[in-house]
Amino acid sequence: MERRAVDWWVGLFVLLGIAALVVLATRVGNLSGFAFSNGYTLSANFSNVGSLKVRSPVKIGGVSVGEVTQIRVDPKTFMAKVTMRIDPQLKLPVDTGASIYTEGLLGEQFIALQPGGLPQDLKPGGTITMTQSAVNLDQLIGQMIFSKASSGK
């Protein structure tokens, strides 16, 4: 094998490896999440966040517009306080609502925002007041069983 050809192939091989790593990191792993790293933060209080996790998506109409950055319990109200980072190009009205939904029956949970209609916008660091907690499947099943039992009498 000629020297130049070996150099050429080895260089190409290493480049191929680096390219594959970049594609893996952005397409398969979630390193692409830093797309929202320069967004502004909002927070919302929920009575139950279910299995919502840090990095869970925040969506409007099914389109990902941000991610959850922190989840902790408010020491005064004992509500779950969720902080999220939102795409800086989106200005949301102050009467925006936030709900926690599940993707499919067994999928991951995400926050869905329903933009309101008021002319004032939420400021960075603001709080969303209208929230709807995660649906608790066990509770729903329990309710259904009890209502069936009482109506059967």
């Binding site: 094998m1 020297r3 070996v6 150099d7 192939w9 080895v10 190409l12 091989f13 290493v14 191929l16 490896g17 594959a20 790593l21 594609v23 893996l24 990191a25 397409r27 398969v28 792993g29 979630n30 390193l31 692409s32 990095r55 869970s56 998506p57 993707e103 499919g104 029956l105 067994l106 999928g107 991951e108």
Partner: protein, 260 residues
């Protein structure tokens, strides 16, 4: 009396194995350190990266493609019973990145490149080329062994990344166009459940360890082979068998340590 021979034989085997292991470890240390020797040639290293890596690429791509496709098929039939086919992307990606990618790359590498490496060094020894180097005051560890060891360490993680990527792509081709899983869900579920440091980098760390172990065993078996045609032949067999078992055993230990 075969029964009474058993215990002294066992003791003999252990006593013979321990110093051999010590010599092999010394061989590895000297081989790796020989990168600083003045007889170490960067050109030889490139040549080995070409021989061990570039020439193994086609085999890896074909193997990865079929592995990914089979994973998608089997995963689909297991998940469709629970209506959880949206988790297929996660299943394919995590299986490949954490286990199948590094392990299969290392096993194929042991068969394709490790065996050739043992045979090459073994023949060099049988034809007294290694002794000739010693006579010319050229350190064979620096000229022959070091480039191969370092090439193995460099090459296996690169092959593993390519294996992972091609495997995921093969899984996608089966899952989305053929089995009708939603493409958006396939990627989104994968992205939200695969972490860069936890899954991708840990998999590559495994590949790095496997690369070191496979080339070490292959080079050592060649270096310690009986300098006859028969000796080189049996060293090549031993190289592939030992390297494969070492990869599988080491994989268990690394998995227990890395993924908690």
């Amino acid at each position: 009396m075969a029964v009474f021979d058993f215990i002294p034989n066992l003791g003999n085997r252990v006593l013979a194995t321990v110093p051999r292991l010590g010599t092999a470890t010394r061989f590895l240390m000297l081989g790796l350190a020989a990168i600083f020797s003045r007889h170490f040639s960067f050109r030889q290293l490139l040549r080995q990266v070409y021989g061990l890596g570039v020439l193994s690429l086609a085999l890896m791509i074909v193997a990865a493609f079929f592995t990914g496709m089979v994973l998608a098929f089997q995963g689909y039939y297991a998940l469709v019973r629970f209506g959880a086919t949206s988790a297929l992307g996660t299943l394919v990606a995590l299986s490949l990145l954490r286990e199948l990618g590094p392990v299969l790359t290392a096993l194929l590498f042991a068969g394709r490149a490790g065996s050739a490496l043992t045979a090459e060094i073994g023949s060099m020894k049988a034809t007294e080329q290694l002794s000739a180097m010693d006579m010319m005051a050229v350190n064979p560890l620096a000229w022959v062994v070091a480039p191969r060891l370092w090439a193995g360490i460099i090459v296996v993680p690169i092959l593993c990344v390519i294996f992972d990527l091609v495997g995921v792509w093969g899984g996608y081709l089966i899952a989305v166009p053929l089995l009708g899983v939603d493409g958006g869900t396939f990627w989104a579920q994968m992205q939200s459940n695969v972490t860069f440091s936890g899954d991708i980098m840990n998999g590559l760390f495994k590949a790095l360890c496997f690369g070191l172990v496979v080339t070490w065993i292959a080079a050592w078996q060649g270096y310690a082979a009986q300098p006859t045609a028969e000796g080189v032949g049996s060293a090549t067999t031993r190289s592939v068998v030992t390297a494969s078992l070492a990869v599988l055993g080491l994989d268990f230990i690394l998995t227990a340590l890395l993924f908690k």
